[in-house]
Symmetry: D2
Subunit: 147 residues, 4 copies
């Protein structure tokens, strides 16, 4: 139940395999069952009206849970996103970062589930929530798993 990668190792690995992540996301904190991920909000994340776009929030939720799985399973992990449910509840500010608080609810042999609450930095009212599910390939398999 312990971490295979710490916060620094995880950040470094994410930047290495997903170069675009480096300019979009930062890992604020990490422990065995939760992670806080920051979306470094820029114009490219906004939609008309100046709020953070739905696809940007989807990315934030997906990266948060994926990073949490990596931190627990290690660099060779090949989790594939199989499902997502989201609720958009308040208007996100486009002028400050967005903070995702992610909890890993299950990390089984073949299935992982993580919950994410997203906030405009400085507010404690959730802007959106997401649950992401992942298929995990069999141990030792090199191939990503699409079930």
């Amino acid at each position: 139940m312990s971490l295979v990668l710490n916060r620094e190792q995880l950040s470094e690995y994410l930047h290495q395999v997903f170069p675009q992540v480096e300019r979009d996301f930062a890992v604020d904190s990490l422990d065995e069952n939760s992670i806080v991920m920051r979306l470094l909000v820029e114009d490219r994340h906004l939609r008309p009206g100046g709020t953070v776009s739905g696809p940007s929030m989807f990315s934030l939720a997906d990266v948060s849970v994926y990073a949490m799985i990596l931190a627990r399973k290690g660099r060779q992990s090949l989790a594939v996103t199989t499902g997502c449910s989201m609720d958009f509840m308040r208007k996100p500010e486009g002028t400050v970062d967005m903070i995702a608080r992610c909890t890993l609810l299950k990390l089984g042999k073949s299935l992982a589930v993580g919950d994410v609450l997203m906030f405009t930095e400085g507010s404690d009212k959730p802007v959106a929530r997401a649950t992401m599910t992942y298929s995990l390939p069999p141990e030792g398999s090199a191939a990503a798993a699409f079930g």
Copy 2:
């Protein structure tokens, strides 16, 4: 942001309007943003194999969020369930009660959203999670709202 009904008033009202609730559910605790609801597990809640059935968990999640809305909005509330997402993560025991920990994420003028984690009593590993969404009728309206 305060409660309109306390735990005793809420329990009494639920039993009055949903007589079948009395034998199935109990409110363990209640505060302004969260409720703990108990499913009094009996044979009728089980499926073959002796685990708590999916429909029973759906009911537990729905009653939890609905009760939380009642506690905040009062007896005249006519929330209608419009959406639900659930993930089933572990096998629930059929021999002890099931405990739902519900958090109200949003209670707006026309939309409410609640998150629910469900546990076999005595375990801290969630058996299932649910998010329930509700449409709230306009203030003063007697009619339930299906949008």
Copy 3:
């Protein structure tokens, strides 16, 4: 891609393993990728107000997709429901049967996904929709798979 059980064999098997199904559900039609399942609406499926209850619709969706998997994979199949999303869109009548039209979107080695539209019999406006996901145990395994 062909059926392992036809409609009669499927109905017989469902009644055998889930005796309670016999009085609640009937298979109206079945082909390789879709099934039409009927909820034989009785008082026990209703909630106050006389509409079909949420848990009854959850059951209908779950049985529909599960039966479709059985028809394709055969009697030894041990699919476990891992996820569900539902939207409730209109008030279902409580005085006639409810009809579920289910399409199997994926039947992989370890994951199955089915979509369900539910109608009050005689109406072409969907009352609710559901997507159900299932984990399938490895071939030859006797154990149900919770991932």
Copy 4:
């Protein structure tokens, strides 16, 4: 139940209010209850491995249902996405366009629901499915509705 905007008017309006849509999406066909939307797949829609990214599929689903609502409600429509559920079922090709087939399941006074199946062009196996829900502001209101 008829269209307020035809395909050409809808395309023109989308390009006008969402300039970025013009290079990403095209309306292939439109009728009263359904729309076929094309994602013009480019490198920016891909993730490492060369498949279409999750956020790109989220955008495709969201634009499809939003455009369908516009076509029915007209240019003044201010629908706000309130919920989303998606299942990712197969690996999308990154070398051809992606096609979304969207059906409007409900267009009420305050709530709209649309279903979307997404395909790699030329294949009839769905890559992903999505259901998107929207809150609609009261008639005559200029403000977007977050419930």
